[in-house]
């Protein structure tokens, strides 16, 4: 026998409407949200792809050629086309949100959000051009 009444977590059951698992299919805005979240899978795939490239390059010229041939097979190409669409979607949504995450003050005045977004897109272009230039030099 316990010497005191056991504590029970009795509380009135709250009424909760069941939310369907597929709630995010009903509106474009919530579908866009889930698609944006799913872009992370392709970010992870890219890391795997990049590490495979690094492994091939460090193994030698033949392994590198083999990697490029493997990357040209239709299934891998399809995966990378879909992946590219998703990572571009990630980049666009990320830079569009940047003004809300970055509050920049210059001379006591808040820099307008569109300017911050434009700066982010400009940075994206500069980095992309620099990367292409780096790989196309030779």
């Amino acid at each position: 026998m316990r010497d005191q009444a056991p504590y029970t977590q009795d509380h009135p059951r709250l009424y909760r409407r069941r939310v369907s698992t597929w709630w995010w299919l009903k509106r474009w805005s919530s579908l866009a949200f889930i698609l944006r979240e799913l872009s992370s899978i392709f970010v992870a795939w890219f890391v795997v792809f990049l590490l495979m490239l690094i492994l091939a390059v460090s193994r030698g010229s033949l392994a590198y050629q083999e990697f490029l041939r493997w990357a040209a097979n239709p299934y891998v190409l399809l995966l990378n086309v879909v992946g590219l669409l998703f990572v571009v979607f990630h980049a666009v949504t990320w830079f569009n949100l940047a003004p809300q995450a970055m509050v920049v003050h210059l001379k006591g005045k808040r820099v307008p959000g569109t300017l911050i977004a434009i700066a982010n897109y400009a940075g994206w272009v500069v980095v992309s051009v620099a990367v292409v230039w780096m790989f196309q030099r030779v």
């Binding site: 890391v47 390059v57 460090s58």
Partner: protein, 117 residues
């Protein structure tokens, strides 16, 4: 739920990964996933890539890109599973898979970047 004190750190890593991924992944995936395999652009020679990837600065950038992108994935994918599929009751398993993946990826990236001749 992960301990509250850990959450801001994970969010910061997610955010840093989001920036790096947005800046670098589209162009890299376009070049190595499409342009070079399909011959749209002449692919860089093996010797050039080897010297480029072997540069200390490139190793650091590539390591950060891999690790932070994986943190980005882990954080976002975790919440996708919670919100999209409503499987928050599998919290421990999801955390294990996501951050376990980050650890495996980090060790692999460190080894692969370190062993480049």
């Amino acid at each position: 739920m992960l301990r509250r004190t850990l959450e801001p750190l994970l969010w910061t890593l997610f955010s840093a990964g989001g920036v790096l991924a947005a800046l670098l992944i589209p162009v890299l995936l376009f070049l190595f996933g499409l342009a070079y395999p399909l011959g749209w652009l002449p692919s860089p020679s093996h010797a050039y890539l080897l010297s480029l990837f072997g540069h200390p600065l490139a190793r650091v950038v590539l390591f950060l890109l891999c690790v932070l992108s994986l943190f980005h994935w882990a954080h976002r994918f975790r919440y996708t599973l919670y919100d999209g599929l409503q499987i928050k009751h599998l919290n421990e398993l999801i955390v294990l898979v996501c951050y376990g993946g980050v650890i495996v990826g980090t060790v692999t990236a460190a080894y692969l970047l370190w062993q480049i001749p």
